[in-house]
């Protein structure tokens, strides 16, 4: 589904990603872990199409298409969803109206029929339940004044309504209490299908207690330096990131 080959990316002439290779097949869950500043968020935003990054070399293929050739919204329509680490607050745009116009513009672009008001109401209600979000938050301005947990659940709600092929969670778990974390994990587990894949970017292992990944990759200094299964995450939790750095940098403590 997603094939990243030797991806090199820089920001303002500073090289952030230095040759990433990653292959995600339908239905797989991949976790990317790594210390702060390793390039995790850069990878997430490059996949979503943010303008600030310069792709120096390499390729990204998504469902057989050249992802780097697509606009931000075209990627979303093709089935990429990025849950933001810091969801943006937009005063004056009601959450419900935002969800409605989002769903219908994506459905239209995907060649599906737009939903009428009744269908939409039912659809949103079901999805809101899935992420255990208070219905009252739908009437408020998008993310404005939401707690950290509410913002992240709102991201999960957007993911649920857009039904992407690949869901990318950019440190969605950072700063969440255990209840909110459980709800986020539950949303991912319920949305998991044999065709839908996830890329979970996280600094902590804790989320992976609830979402069992097929692969765990360690990103350090802009490269994937280690790949394993869920046990690698547990080891990282126990030993921290220093031993990885030592292995890679060849310096002993």
């Amino acid at each position: 589904m997603l094939k990243i080959k030797d991806l090199k990316v820089s920001v303002e002439d500073k090289e952030i990603l230095r040759g990433i290779n990653l292959d995600i097949k339908p239905g797989e869950i991949h976790a990317i872990m790594g210390p702060n500043g390793s390039g995790k968020s850069t990878l997430s935003h490059v996949l979503a199409g943010k303008d600030d990054y310069e792709v120096d070399s390499g390729s990204i293929e998504f469902c057989g298409e050249d992802l780097l050739d697509m606009e931000i919204d075209e990627r979303a329509i093709a089935g990429i969803f990025l849950a933001f680490q810091y969801p943006v607050e937009i005063p004056g745009v009601s959450n419900a109206n935002f969800l409605k116009s989002m769903v219908n513009s994506v459905r239209k672009a995907r060649g599906e029929e737009e939903m009428n008001a009744m269908e939409m109401l039912k659809y949103l209600k079901a999805k809101t339940k899935l992420v255990e979000l208070d219905q009252a938050l739908l009437k408020r301005s998008l993310n404005e004044g939401f707690s950290g947990g509410e913002k992240k659940r709102n991201e999960m709600l957007q993911m649920a309504v857009l039904e992407p092929k690949l869901g990318i969670l950019d440190e969605t778990d950072s700063g969440l209490d255990i209840d909110a974390l459980r709800i986020v994990a539950n949303a991912v587990n319920q949305l998991r299908t044999k065709d839908r894949s996830f890329l979970i970017v996280t600094h902590y292992q804790r989320l992976l207690d609830y979402i069992v990944p097929d692969f765990v990759h360690v990103l350090y200094n802009g490269q994937i330096v280690k790949t394993g299964d869920k046990n690698l995450a547990l080891e990282l939790e126990k030993r921290g990131y220093d031993w990885i750095k030592e292995e890679v940098d060849g310096v002993s403590a």
Partner: protein, 441 residues
């Protein structure tokens, strides 16, 4: 006070004097009607005052002389269909309706037959000839408060005008919609829509002015509305302006507020080549509330100037002003919010905010909050921001499948929606939103 008038202004005023004299000659028997005397006095006042010069600080950014120096014929009415009147108004809103086409009342499209008890709507002449309201008309039309050259011009040239009287304790059951429609063709015209609204003690009324162009064309609308808001009364005053993109509008709204009264102004400016709003509220006693809400969108070569003045002359009064707008292309916006808090006006609460989005390198916004505070126990605040669209927000919306255009339009909408939330009449708010959506594309 002697005011030096430059020659250019004097020559332009002389042109209007000639026009006035010709018109007066045609009046025959009506020439000595007291209302005509008031008009003539206004013409005299215009000669005293003269049109503002470029060096006039209040007109620094808006060169109005270029409007009045053009030649405009007086509007003589035009025929339109019911469908046009509906497109210009609120078909879904139950309202008392007055439709003016090219400055002349169209009785057929108007509906003021079944007025509730306590409400009077008439033309100015009828109101003047009524002994009960004569003094009110005379006082309103000769009031020096808020007077400027364009107020005088309107008073001198107004056609039939609209007089609204709301008796003590009357809560008017539905809004009064005054629709001004312009059909262009042939010589450029000028119209001088005029409203005098008197809300007696503890009454409440909503007046909605709309300005609509059937086709693109150059013309000049110079309107005046004077409201006298009685003790504990509330006047809601709306203006939805969508003039032709080649038209000029100068809009003068002047409120005088008695004790414990509330005057709320809601303005949406979308049309016009050059638009100038002179809005002022003069507080005559304590305990008053003044709410001024405004939205402006200037694109192409549009120029929209909002001047407001609130004169806090008495203690325990509140004013609240929120103006937001978007300037794109080669558009230009001006905001000048004067708030005067006189020495006696202790315990005044005055809040003012003006925020603009400037979307292109050639768009200009000039904003000038001007608070002059002479009392020492007051709460006054003002803020002015000029910014661009937030790139992170656009990116966020696009990752949710919205096109760049959709995302930009959604954010622009959201930016001004905060102001429209204050519109009290749902149908007017909906119409304002729809008009904005049309303009934002």
């Amino acid at each position: 006070m002697a005011i030096a008038i430059d020659n250019k202004s004097a020559a332009i005023v002389a042109k209007y004097r000639t026009l006035f004299d010709v018109k007066e000659k045609q009046l025959n028997g009506q020439k000595n009607h007291p209302l005509q005397t008031i008009r003539r006095q206004a013409m005299d006042r215009l000669e005293d005052i003269g049109f503002p010069a470029r060096k006039d600080e209040d007109y620094k950014y808006t060169y109005v002389t270029k409007i009045v120096k053009e030649s405009f014929a007086e509007g003589k009415g035009a025929t339109i269909g019911k469908n046009v009147a509906e497109a210009a108004g609120f078909p879904e809103l139950d309202a008392y309706q007055l439709v003016f086409v090219n400055g002349v009342l169209n009785a057929e499209l108007s509906d003021t037959k079944h007025l509730m008890a306590g409400l009077t709507i008439s033309d100015m002449k009828t109101a003047y000839e009524n002994a009960d309201t004569q003094a009110l008309v005379e006082k309103a039309l000769t009031n020096e408060l808020g007077l400027n050259a364009f107020v005088a011009l309107n008073t001198a040239f107004a056609h039939s005008g609209v007089f609204i009287h709301v008796a003590k304790g009357t809560i008017v059951d539905k809004p009064i919609h005054i629709s001004n429609i312009t059909v262009s063709g042939g010589a450029a015209i000028m119209t001088h829509p005029q409203i005098v609204g008197i809300a007696e003690e503890s009454s409440e009324v909503s007046v909605v002015e709309t300005y609509y162009a059937v086709n693109d064309g150059t013309y000049f609308t110079n309107s005046l509305s004077r409201f006298v808001v009685g003790k504990n009364a509330h006047v809601h005053h709306y203006k939805l302006q969508n003039e032709s993109q080649s038209a000029f509008q100068i809009n003068n709204a002047i409120a005088t507020q008695e004790r414990d009264s509330t005057y709320s102004s809601y303005v949406l400016d979308l049309g016009g080549k050059t638009v100038r709003n002179n809005l002022s509220s003069h507080l005559q006693s304590s305990g008053t509330n003044t709410n001024l809400y405004g939205v402006y969108l200037a694109k192409g070569n549009q120029h929209i100037d909002n001047q407001s003045f609130i004169d806090h002359a008495h203690p325990h009064c509140e004013s609240n002003e929120l103006y937001k707008g978007i300037i794109d292309d080669k558009g230009r916006g001006v905001f000048n919010g004067k708030v005067n808090v006189r020495q006696d006006a202790q315990k005044t609460n005055a809040f003012q905010q003006n925020s603009s989005l400037v979307l292109s390198n050639t768009a200009i916004m000039d904003t000038k909050p001007q608070l002059e505070i002479f009392a020492d126990d007051v709460k006054c605040s003002h803020g002015a921001t000029i910014g661009q669209m937030d790139e992170t927000s656009i990116y966020y919306l696009r990752t949710r499948g919205m096109s760049l255009e959709q995302a930009r339009s959604m954010l622009q909408f959201a930016f001004v929606a905060e102001v429209l939330e204050n519109f009290q009449i749902e149908a007017v708010k909906e119409k304002a939103l729809a008009m904005m959506a049309d303009k934002l594309g």
